[in-house]
């Protein structure tokens, strides 16, 4: 083994890689539904808006996972509710309402963080994650969240699929469309907080959207999009972690870049194959 690759034998590296891969698969599975429910950018807003909830959870709940997960979910739902109220009761359009609400909530979270020196959440970690510094509890949390999401997919795959493809039809055949929407919003908040250590808040969207969008370029069924998105997420995490540690750069930044690179490569290759025209 060459000297630069010594870390491949170290347990800390594999712990961090496991954390990143589990978080990435968790986000990618939820993200597939977000893409087709036109919630790509809403998920960005939610993932930013959870910050004050997480900090409050830390403060009030004394460092327990349950406290900051519930803080995150509450803040995420509050963000979506505020956006909805602004759109309904003012003439602001949805994009402006989103921009106002999530940036204000994120700023509130940053201010709360800057007041709480000594809490082991620093602004850098919030932006881009620090998987190499994560504790074992982080892996437990993201594994738990992944199990919850897998369980949801196993049990409620059909209603999820129908509600995503055709919400009106779903309502008519008795799928609880509204409930599914709220569950997905909560799942975005849960996944962001579970992946906070690994990927950070600002890059969370790359982990939500990009693997699913890449898989959707060539998969023909929703089921295969889910499988392939999970595989892409795991593969990118592994490659990204090895390169990031070898080059000593931010893992989540590198994985997000790799994700965009893979997406663009496949898309370009497809265009060259099919039409020779790029547009």
């Amino acid at each position: 083994m060459p000297a630069w690759a010594n870390f491949l034998g170290a347990p800390w590296f594999w712990n961090a890689t496991a954390l990143v891969a589990v978080s990435a698969v968790l986000c990618a599975l939820i993200g597939v539904f977000l893409i087709y429910r036109r919630m790509s950018l809403l998920s960005d807003a939610i993932s930013h808006a959870i910050l004050p909830g997480v900090v409050l959870g830390y403060l009030l709940g004394g460092f327990s996972a349950a406290a900051f997960v519930s803080g995150a979910v509450a803040a995420g739902l509050l963000c979506v509710a505020c956006i909805g109220l602004l759109v309904r009761y003012t003439r602001l359009k949805e994009d402006a309402a989103m921009g106002v609400v999530f940036s204000a909530m994120f700023a509130a979270g940053i201010v709360m963080l800057s007041l709480l020196r000594g809490v082991d959440l620093d602004p850098g970690c919030v932006v881009y994650g620090e998987p190499l510094a994560a504790k074992p509890e982080s892996l437990e949390l993201s594994l738990g969240a992944l199990l919850v999401v897998l369980g949801l997919l196993a049990v409620a795959y059909r209603p999820l699929l129908i509600a995503t493809f055709d919400p009106v039809f779903a309502k008519l055949v008795g799928v609880p469309e509204r409930l599914i929407h709220i569950i997905l919003l909560g799942a975005v908040a849960l996944a962001t907080v579970a992946a906070l250590r690994a990927v950070g808040i600002v890059l969370a969207v790359a982990f939500f959207i990009t693997p699913g969008a890449t898989a959707a370029l060539f998969c023909r069924h929703m089921g295969s999009v889910l499988w392939v998105a999970a595989l892409i997420a795991a593969g990118e995490s592994l490659v990204g972690m090895v390169l990031a540690v070898a080059w000593n750069v931010s893992p989540s930044g590198l994985i997000a870049t790799l994700g965009l690179g893979l997406f663009l490569s496949i898309l370009l290759w497809q265009r060259v194959q099919t039409g020779n025209r790029l547009a």
């Binding site: 129908i162 055709d166 009106v168 055949v173």
Partner: protein
């Protein structure tokens, strides 16, 4: 199909229905009833509220008032018995699903929500695909279908529901002749088996041929009844606003100064 002993004679009864969109009331007091075993064409000018009527009847519009009974009961009681085919543009056809996947969605109400579709559900899906002539395309991705094939996929999904009342919103819009005849043949079949079919339709030339029952609508019901009684020049002229209609031998000739132009 519905059990013969309790089969309702009335497919749909609507009393004083008012519905529309925020700031814009479209349907202003709509009353009518449709018996079972009919194939009804909902006919009226653009903006008359034809699609709005279907959506309001199905409880899809907030703020709609009035009474609607379907198959002698409320929508909640007979959800499994009512199938709706929306306009094709209402969904994203780039969704990663095959024709078979979409048709299988029609079987949702026939099993508990957590259960995977069983052998019987798959058999029904294959059978309805055969009926609409899409058996060979079952594994085709829905984004690769023509407009007529997409519409037949939607019809197949509704057929797979094995409902008693079918509501279709412009199923023939932008559809090729072959698909049009397949769709009308299947709808006729449903009517012959004792079901009721309600179709929003925009082509006056084909209406008397396709339907045995007509609902003339222009924000209110102008007339509702058998085609021979209702599809007459006077009532059509009232529906379309007087002098915009011309008649050749008692048959309406389309291509008039419609608001669509």
């Amino acid at each position: 199909m519905t059990d013969a002993t309790v089969a309702p004679v009335e497919a749909m009864r609507v009393v004083d229905l008012r519905a529309g969109y925020p700031g814009h009331l479209v349907l202003d007091g709509v009353n009518f009833s449709l018996p079972m075993g009919t194939m009804t064409g909902v006919i009226g000018p653009n903006g008359a509220g034809k699609s709005t009527l279907l959506k309001a009847v199905l409880g899809l519009l907030e703020g709609a008032t009035g009474q609607v009974s379907l198959l002698g009961g409320s929508l909640r009681e007979c959800r499994k018995q009512v199938a709706y085919v929306p306009q094709r543009s209402s969904v994203d056809w780039d969704f990663p699903a095959s024709v078979f996947d979409v048709v299988l969605m029609g079987r949702y109400a026939h099993a508990p929500w957590w259960a995977r579709p069983g052998r019987a559900d798959r058999a029904v899906a294959r059978e309805v695909l055969e009926r609409v002539g899409l058996a060979e395309l079952a594994e085709r991705r829905i984004s690769d279908l023509s407009g007529g094939q997409q519409q037949r996929t939607f019809l197949a999904r509704a057929l797979a529901q094995e409902a008693a009342l079918y509501l279709l919103d412009e199923p023939l819009a932008g559809v090729d002749a072959a698909s049009e005849s397949v769709i009308m043949r299947e709808l006729d079949e449903l009517r012959e088996q004792g079901g009721a079919v309600v179709v929003v339709h925009h082509d006056l030339n084909t209406a008397p041929r396709y339907f045995n029952h007509v609902l003339l609508l222009n924000r209110r019901v102008v007339a509702c009844g058998p085609v021979s009684e209702v599809f007459v020049p006077d009532l059509l002229a009232t529906t379309y606003g007087g002098n915009v209609l011309m008649f050749a031998g008692g048959k309406p000739v389309l291509g008039l100064r419609d608001s669509r132009d």
